[in-house]
């Protein structure tokens, strides 16, 4: 088995009010120096070693992420 990580983030042009709310909370905590926060999703998949990259990208692009609003990165971890 292999571990695959898929990180999904809202596209830069999509307003991320959840990230903004976190940034606001950091200010209220008294933390200085955080200019911006964007919130995404992190998936960890345990997959067969034989599962090919095309299938992984299908998993990411057709279900885990919505290409209209999100970008994603697939990485195999050793």
């Amino acid at each position: 088995m292999a571990r695959v990580v898929v990180d999904v983030m809202p596209k830069p042009e999509i307003l991320d009010p959840q990230g903004q709310a976190v940034a606001g909370a950091l200010q209220r905590m008294g933390v200085a120096g955080v200019a911006d926060v964007r919130q995404g999703k992190h998936f960890e998949l345990e997959v067969d070693d034989a599962l090919d990259d095309a299938t992984l990208h299908r998993i990411a692009g057709e279900l885990l992420a919505n290409p209209v609003i999100e970008d994603w990165v697939v990485s195999r971890t050793p």
Binding site: P17, L63, V68
Partner: protein, 223 residues
Amino acid sequence: MRIGVITFPGTLDDVDAARAVRYAGAESVALWHADRDLEGVDAVVVPGGFSYGDYLRAGAIASIAPIMTEVVAAAGRGMPVLGICNGFQILCEAGLLPGALVRNAGLHFVCRDQRLRVETSDTAWTGDIEAGSEILVPVKNAEGRYVADAATLAELEDTGRVVFRYVGGNPNGALADIAGISSADGRVVGLMPHPEHAVDTLTGPSVDGLALFTSVLRASATT
């Protein structure tokens, strides 16, 4: 006319949608998410709620439920489909309508009576409503902000596919005040507000929503 109303795990508004169908004078047919059978209905309503708990993204998991394979195929043959709220999200996730619905700009769950301008009568679900007129129906969601890329937005505007627009205040930051859109052939319509909650003055702010359900009777009769 027989109109199917789909129930997914977590659907809330199927009972009201079925009632609206009956008030309009049609027979409502309960459809189940796990079936691959539309039971010969003439149109389908995908109602609101929190299908699959909104896990992953609102509408994402419902969009690949077995019944949706049949809905996508039937829509391709011109069957009228109406997606309300979570149903709109599902139709976007299923690729029947362009764009996506994301978290409201103000982060709040917005629940209020909302005025909408009906921009076109040229869809299967708005034929009984005069273009440019206003209706009052409830809106209730946390992820109702319509977004699409600039090219898609321009195409929707240029081809008259923006069907409903928020009037008197945009509740969620939706681009161009868009509350609902249609497919290119006008047979598939999705909107975030709830016409099925505005069919009886006992429980709704108006009976304006009924016109969507009566429209489809005529749309079906003319095809």
